[in-house]
């Protein structure tokens, strides 16, 4: 076990890898905990416990530390009853345990109004929007990308326009999408589609072009022509890279989700987050953000695991 931890592009033992993976989560959590639980780190505000003789102080109120100290000085000079309080962080930075509790209570708390949705309903709605946006985009984008990567004619016919269109920010189409598709899920799906599709065509086309041309030549000497070449060599040849691209693109689709859900009738997880922020339930806000991260990471891990089963011949390339 005396191997160096830092050797350029040398593999680590699996124990070290696991350890470091855990540490990558532990470290930020540690920083968060330090800031939250060690009173002399940051804590720029004071939570008033007893208002003393300050008129506008109320128990439980948060005031800036400088203001609090000033008031104390003034009162002390006048010999009046002093306010007391404890140092605390602003309301927008809840402590880890509060967020952990919120992770549970956010699901179990009934919505404030009858027509509002439970958290799990909001989440389901978000996942649905992502799914349809990404699915519809892939349905056209992947075949088009493969064709563009295979045939120069298709590439020249599509890619210049796609290249132009991908610089148009998807959210800019928000108002237009609402005007055309109404205020519910359809415009949101459209935004995710626009955000994903144009990148997808280019990424897939590039992946297709990266296929070793000598494999195509070999297949041609074995008698493969257009369709055979496409279905027996190009598609299976890029399948594993394509799968990896899709995993990355799915991540992008999630970033467009937040914008998409803001337009028209606000809905889904974004609606939940903005609503909770309005009520100043920042622990719930953090919980919701964490949930997005957890869903994203879990999906990716499952897809990675599935990928290893789907493409067993890839294992050597990685090892």
């Amino acid at each position: 076990m005396n191997k160096p931890w830092f050797a350029v592009r040398k593999e680590l033992s699996s124990r070290r890898r696991t350890f470091l993976a855990v540490m990558s989560f532990v470290f930020p959590l540690l920083v968060w905990s330090l800031v939250s639980y060690v009173p002399f780190i940051w804590h720029p505000q004071v939570e008033v416990i007893e208002a003393g003789e300050v008129d506008y102080f109320r128990a439980g109120m948060l005031v800036d530390r400088t203001v609090f100290e000033q008031e104390r000085e003034t009162l002390r000079a006048e010999g009046r009853e002093l306010p007391t309080g404890t140092r605390t962080n602003p309301v927008y930075l809840p402590a880890p345990h509060e967020v952990a509790t919120a992770l549970y209570t956010a699901f179990s708390t009934e919505p404030q109004r009858r027509n509002e949705k439970w958290l799990h309903e909001s989440l389901a709605n978000s996942i649905q929007v992502i799914f349809w946006g990404f699915f519809l985009s892939s349905l056209i984008g992947v075949p088009l990308g493969i064709l563009a990567g295979t045939y120069v004619a298709v590439s020249r016919l599509t890619e210049p326009f796609v290249e132009f269109f991908r610089y148009l920010p998807a959210p800019a189409f928000g108002a237009l999408a609402v005007a055309i598709l109404g205020i519910h899920d359809a415009p949101k799906i459209a935004i995710i589609f626009i955000g994903t599709f144009f990148q997808q065509v280019l990424v897939v086309a590039n992946t297709t072009r990266k296929l070793d041309p000598s494999l195509l030549e070999a297949a041609m000497t074995l008698g493969a022509r257009n369709a055979g070449l496409l279905f027996k060599v190009v598609i299976p040849g890029i399948a594993s890279d394509l799968y990896r691209d899709m995993r990355i693109l799915l991540g992008w689709a999630w970033t467009y989700l937040i914008v998409a859900e803001m337009i028209g009738a606000s809905s889904g997880i974004t609606w939940f987050i903005t609503q909770q922020a309005r009520y100043k339930n920042f622990d719930n806000v953090f919980a919701a953000i964490l949930i997005i991260g957890i869903i994203g990471l879990t999906t990716d891990l499952i897809l990675a695991w599935l990928g290893r089963r789907l493409f067993p011949w890839q294992r050597a390339a990685r090892a």
Binding site: L215, E217, A218, A219, M220, T221, G223, A224, G228, P236
Partner: protein
């Protein structure tokens, strides 16, 4: 070079001469007539191949050899149909060749096995494309895999095989289509010397036992002499045929012939053609030479390597 008393490479024993006479009576499989290929670059048009003429007879083994840049790879790729040519004709069984096809099998230096297919599936591809049913294709593929001795690895993926094994799969894959001719572009170039010698043995063994004509590109003189009936020697800039040598080493070949007088005589001739004595003074000397000065300290313990 030490001077050895060698016969002329043109001297053929009666048996060898008789074999060549019979060989030339066999039907012509591949005929190349006036093949010329030029391509345009930024510096103007370059002639890669110039007026190449030769023909191969059924079950003949032809090696193509030449200095780097002589266009031997271009030649074989043109025969395979992977590259266009400017003028001339390539005839397979008397019919002109256009584009790649399963009647000309090809083995590349880079293996080019499909990494997502097992050994068996790699060999099956050509058969599938020819419209053979799955079971028939599988059965046939297994026979070819058996022929190259890889039955145990039929269900392995290419990445699990050594270089030599990969190239055997590539050979089996090309042969499974039962092509008229097998084109091999420096197939053993990436292998180590021992594996390469073994592969040469396998290849001769396969060639003896099936009806296949081979055109084999190499830059290794020994390999060319050991394998070939005839050697097509190209020269560079432009790629032209220098000589078509009939190898006087008797068939069947075995490694002990590597030091026989006929073998050495042929090798000397190839050396003359490919590395002509005057060539170095013409272009190489000033442009491509080490600029060495003595960099050993005066008091070095080992003063000279000699």
């Amino acid at each position: 070079m030490i001077h050895l008393e060698l016969p002329s490479y043109r001297d053929q024993s009666p048996e060898v001469a008789d074999r060549f006479r019979r060989l030339k009576e066999r039907p012509v499989i591949l005929e190349v007539k006036g093949l010329t290929k030029t391509f345009d670059t930024a510096q103007g048009s370059v002639t890669a191949l110039k007026d190449i003429n030769f023909c191969t007879h059924q079950r003949e083994f032809v090696c193509v050899i030449g200095p780097s840049g002589c266009g031997k790879s271009t030649l074989v790729r043109t025969l395979a149909g992977l590259e266009d040519y400017s003028s001339g004709e390539v005839l397979l069984d008397g019919k002109p060749v256009r584009g790649p096809g399963p009647d000309r099998g090809m083995v590349f230096q880079g293996y080019t096995l499909f990494p997502w297919r097992t050994v068996k599936k790699n060999v099956m591809l050509g058969l599938e494309l020819a419209g053979r049913s799955r079971t028939a294709a599988e059965e046939e593929a297994l026979q070819w895999i058996d022929l190259v001795g890889l039955t145990k690895f039929a269900n392995s993926y290419p990445h699990q095989l050594s270089g030599g094994m990969k190239q055997r799969v590539a050979i089996a894959r090309a042969l499974a289509n039962q092509p008229r001719i097998l084109l091999m572009d420096e197939p053993f170039g990436a292998l180590d010397a021992q594996t390469r010698a073994k592969m040469q043995g396998y290849l001769l063994e396969i060639w003896k036992n099936i009806d296949i004509t081979v055109v084999f590109i190499t830059h290794d003189l020994d390999e060319a002499i050991y394998l070939a009936d005839r050697i097509l020697v190209l020269k560079a800039h432009p790629g032209e045929v220098q000589e078509l040598i009939e190898v006087p080493v008797p068939q069947p070949r075995n490694p002990s012939q590597l030091l026989s007088p006929e073998f050495l005589a042929t090798k000397r001739r190839l050396e003359e053609l490919i590395h002509p004595p005057g060539a170095e003074t013409e272009e190489g000397v000033n442009g491509d030479r080490l600029n060495m000065v003595r960099m050993v300290p005066v008091n070095a313990k080992v003063e000279s390597v000699f």
